[in-house]
């Protein structure tokens, strides 16, 4: 398998704050990786470095290119939507399509128009006349009409209603993802993307605290639901995190065999959101 992204000791500081702190990882072709972290964890900075929008220390290669120095070449094969990337309010929908068509060799105008056709976004409308949901629809239509090797989505569905969000992720899997493309996605609504991810990366305080494939998670992590004396016994196995739900203790373990745990109660695989909280709070 070939690596689409290779990061080695990547760091980025703003003044004395280290937004990204000596991060190394790789993302393989054909994977859908969720980059998950709390606000201010360094997600957006890391994505910007991947996109060549900010320089950084260390070595970073995306599609074999140096993103900061070869941003133009990179952008021909990469596309992204970020919650902070806003479409200009003065532009008309048709002008936007004209522009992208003129500068982007891998953009299919027909595809974008087909995607927009069922929506309420009309070609003559200005962006400022569209609702937030419609602007995102427009932006996503443009992005998905670009035949890119790597798609980076930074909070793509922020502020959209649940119907649209479900539809978007459904389309992403059915129409866009073909096993050849690679997707990196960040979102706070982890539950919604859990089922489409193949890999997950947790980032906190600029450091990657977990980098695993979804298949590895059940092998490595387990959640034990127990109470009373059993809980005390289970605590000796050093859970990374513990919480209480309806009088039951839920203990999260890293690298402890499930057979051992099942002596104390019900064992299951934690969902990503719970695992994320366990990793972040457990480390604190």
């Amino acid at each position: 398998m070939s690596s689409v992204v290779i990061a080695k000791h990547v760091s980025k500081s703003f003044g004395s704050t280290k937004a990204v702190d000596d991060v190394s990882f790789s993302i393989e072709k054909g994977r859908i990786t969720g980059l998950i972290g709390p606000n201010g964890a360094g997600k957006t900075t890391l994505l910007k470095a991947l996109l060549g929008l900010t320089d950084c220390e260390g070595s970073l290669s995306v599609l074999g290119l140096d993103p900061f120095r070869q941003r133009k070449e990179l952008m021909q094969n990469i596309c992204f939507i970020a919650d902070v990337a806003v479409l200009p309010r003065w532009i008309r929908v048709s002008q936007l399509l004209d522009f992208v068509e003129a500068v982007h060799p891998n953009f299919s105008r027909k595809k974008a128009e087909d995607l927009l056709q069922p929506t309420k976004v009309s070609a003559g409308a200005k962006v400022r006349q569209l609702s937030k949901g419609m602007v995102t629809q427009l932006h996503l239509s443009i992005i998905t009409a670009i035949d890119a090797k790597l798609l980076i989505l930074d909070e793509p569905t922020l502020g959209l209603d649940i119907i649209f969000r479900k539809e978007f992720y459904g389309n992403l899997l059915n129409d866009y993802f073909d096993g050849e493309r690679t997707i990196v996605i960040t979102t706070h609504q982890v539950e919604e993307i859990e089922n489409l991810l193949t890999d997950v990366m947790f980032i906190n305080d600029g450091r990657i605290i977990l980098d695993a494939s979804m298949e590895e998670l059940p092998e490595q992590f387990a959640e034990l639901m127990t109470s009373g004396d059993s809980a005390d016994e289970a605590r000796k196995l050093k859970p990374i995190f513990e919480r209480e739900v309806f009088g039951k203790n839920i203990l999260t373990f890293d690298g402890v065999q499930r057979e051992k745990l099942s002596e104390f109660g019900d064992v299951r695989t934690p969902n990503i959101a719970d695992l994320f909280v366990a990793k972040i709070k457990g480390a604190a």
């Binding site: 996109l51 133009k72 952008m75 902070v84 990337a85 479409l87 309010r89």
Partner: protein, 306 residues
């Protein structure tokens, strides 16, 4: 590269509609004022009208010169508007995309920062003068057309009095040469405005103008020299494009006036393009513009969306 430039410049015109709306409105206002004026003059009766034109007792060259001067005054109004528009445009061009937070979208396209900044420079230095010229020409034609109706309604020969006499091509060529030369001459300011526009977090106008005023004052009070003042203000007013014409001599001698009347006065012949392109001041200015523009490219590249 060129296809990208065309797309980027089109983008500029979509965003900055004032670049053609303002000259269009100004042109229409000029024509409206003219119509009002002529209607008002008509109220005094027809006999003075044609006499006012001095139409029959001066030669075609003189008539052409008079009309040329009138048209040039109108051009002057639009050129002044152009200078103001260019200043506002260049100050806004790299600031607006950060203010409306669309910069990340633009940078998500396969276009380099250098190409983007270059498209803004080309728009300011070349595209705006060309657009302005189009509106100047349209205004001239409208003004002459309205005058033709007015003169025609009084039974005079419109072709003879106006259209055969007016050197339109000469006027327009001279105006275009002058405007492009002016833009190139003032390009260090455009470069500076682009840099401020890329750099500043707030009020680009203030940030651009303040150093231009304060630095020469400081230089004068601290170093007792006026180098900056000369470079910023004295140079600006001395566009080296006019041919050395002894205007006083021309106007004081009857002989030279007669010669001019016989041969006609060409505006283009008053401009000396050779002198302009070989003047060190132009190349120094273009170098300064290039440095500022390059700095603006780097600022856009390194600064991100903050």
């Amino acid at each position: 590269m060129i296809a990208n430039q065309v797309a980027l410049i089109r983008r500029e015109l979509w965003e900055h509609r004032s670049l053609y709306v303002v000259p269009a409105v100004l042109g229409l206002v000029i024509v409206l004022i003219q119509m009002t004026g002529q209607t008002a003059v008509s109220a005094f009766g027809t006999h003075i009208d044609i006499a006012l034109l001095g139409a029959t007792n001066i030669g075609p060259n003189e008539r052409g010169a008079v009309i040329s001067v009138l048209l040039t005054v109108l051009s002057g109004l639009l050129v002044m508007a152009m200078l103001i528009l260019t200043a506002f445009y260049s100050l806004d061009s790299l600031y607006a995309e950060r203010k409306d937070r669309s910069i990340l979208f633009w940078r998500s396209m396969p276009v380099t920062d250098a190409e983007t900044v270059l498209s803004k420079l080309i728009t300011a230095v070349i595209v705006i003068p060309v657009i302005t010229l189009a509106f100047i020409a349209a205004t001239h034609l409208l003004v002459l057309f309205v005058s033709s109706i007015w003169v025609g309604m009084r039974g005079a020969n419109v072709w003879h009095l106006i259209w055969s006499a007016v050197p339109l091509l000469d006027t327009w060529s001279a105006t275009l040469i002058f405007m492009v030369a002016l833009s190139l001459w003032l390009s260090p300011f455009i470069g500076w405005f682009l840099l401020v526009s890329a750099y500043t977090k707030r009020s680009p106008m203030l940030m651009a103008i303040l150093p231009i005023i304060v630095l020469p004052m400081l230089e004068r009070s601290i170093m007792k020299t006026t180098m900056l003042f000369d470079a910023l203000f004295v140079r600006t007013g001395n566009l080296p494009i006019y041919r050395d014409i002894d205007l006083e001599g021309l106007l004081s001698s009857k002989e030279s006036l007669r010669m001019a009347a016989e041969n006609g006065i060409s505006l283009v012949s008053m401009l000396d393009v050779g002198r302009f392109v070989t003047s060190p001041g132009l190349w120094l200015g273009l170098t300064v513009c290039g440095l500022f523009t390059t700095a603006a490219m780097y600022v856009r590249r390194f600064r991100g969306d903050s």
